[in-house]
């Protein structure tokens, strides 16, 4: 791929990298896993970039590839990828420490979401990102009705999980 394409891709990814971080936040359990999954997503996005026509929004295209990486391609191994900047900046992602009462609630919610299976997490991600059911069904390859029903079940499941652990 030519240099211009690389500059274009890196620029777009730098600008929209939060898409990847958010998916990592649901699928990874610690900073190392976050780093590793992020790295794999970047590689998969770069490989698929020639197929990106620019008709679709970069964000829509990117989250689809990134979700697919998390669900279908990623093996969960940890390779050694450390640079000082990367490690320092990652310290900002909080996996365990929450301060206020509301953050306690969020911690409980995040813990519950992380216990869901990979497909359920994908549905939750798209729900949180305000994707409509047509898009969810198109991304996962399931029917729209099933996506809707499953989403409702996840909400109930999460509520039960939280209640079982003594609520917020």
């Amino acid at each position: 791929m030519n240099k211009n394409k690389e500059i274009e891709f890196v620029g777009l990814l730098e600008q929209h990298q939060n898409i990847l971080h958010k998916i990592c936040k649901l699928y990874a359990t610690d900073l190392n896993a976050h780093k590793d999954l992020f790295q794999e997503m970047v590689i998969q996005l770069w490989r698929s970039y020639p197929t990106f026509k620019g008709e679709a929004k970069f964000t829509t295209w990117a989250y689809r590839v990134a979700l697919n990486t998390a669900i279908s391609l990623y093996r969960g191994t940890k390779r050694k990828i450390t640079t000082v900047d990367w490690d320092n900046s990652l310290q900002n992602i909080r996996y365990e420490e929450y301060d206020t009462e509301q953050e306690e609630q969020l911690k409980t919610l995040y813990t519950a979401v992380r216990q869901l299976n990979d497909i359920e997490k994908a549905l939750v991600y798209m729900y949180l990102e305000d994707k409509d059911y047509a898009e969810i069904s198109d991304t996962l390859g399931i029917s729209e009705v099933n996506a809707r029903v499953k989403m409702n079940r996840i909400k109930t499941k999460l509520k039960n999980m939280i209640d079982q652990n003594g609520g917020y």
């Binding site: 590689i43 197929t51 279908s72 390779r79 969020l106 519950a112 909400k155 999460l158």
Partner: protein, 205 residues
Amino acid sequence: MDGLDLLKKHWNADKQFPQIDSSEIRIMLRRSSSSIVRWIFFICCLEFTLWLALSLFLPVEKENLLFFQITDGIYNIVFYACIFYFIFQFYTLLVQIKSTNNTRKLMESILAVRNNAHRYIRFNLLAAYAAFGLQLIQLIAKEYLKGEPWGSMIFFIMLASILFVAFGLLFVWLYKLYFKVIYGFLLKRLNNNYEELTRLEKEDI
């Protein structure tokens, strides 16, 4: 407020992520992938190389009888034709794996490569088994032509049959073990996710 809605509110406001700069992203582009597709690719290449090397370099005894020369010839033609068919299939299926497809399609395309590998190994074990059977028949035929008495011939045929069955069971066991260890371990997560997606789609609403 519903649990997920509370999360959604926080989710959209969450800016607590590291901002990776472009030079760092550029370094990442040059790193190699550790995806399961890459692993399947290497494993399949190894399988192709190994079986081809085995078939090419194992010493083969030249048969005297024309009939067995012909059966060996046919066996070899079929064997190599099948191997190249599997390699072609492997390549065709591999290029169909695209991370831009929907999740179900992507998983199916990965599993199709795995199934091709399953069939390939099954074919090789069957071919090895057929070669072994052919060898036994050739040995029995030689003994017969030497004019061995029927008593020792029956003993010989029985021994060959027992060996044939024993090797058959060994091959089946090896096949199952191989897939459990190699592909079972590698694709455990993908299999679970695919089953979940399939179950979800089949559920009555």
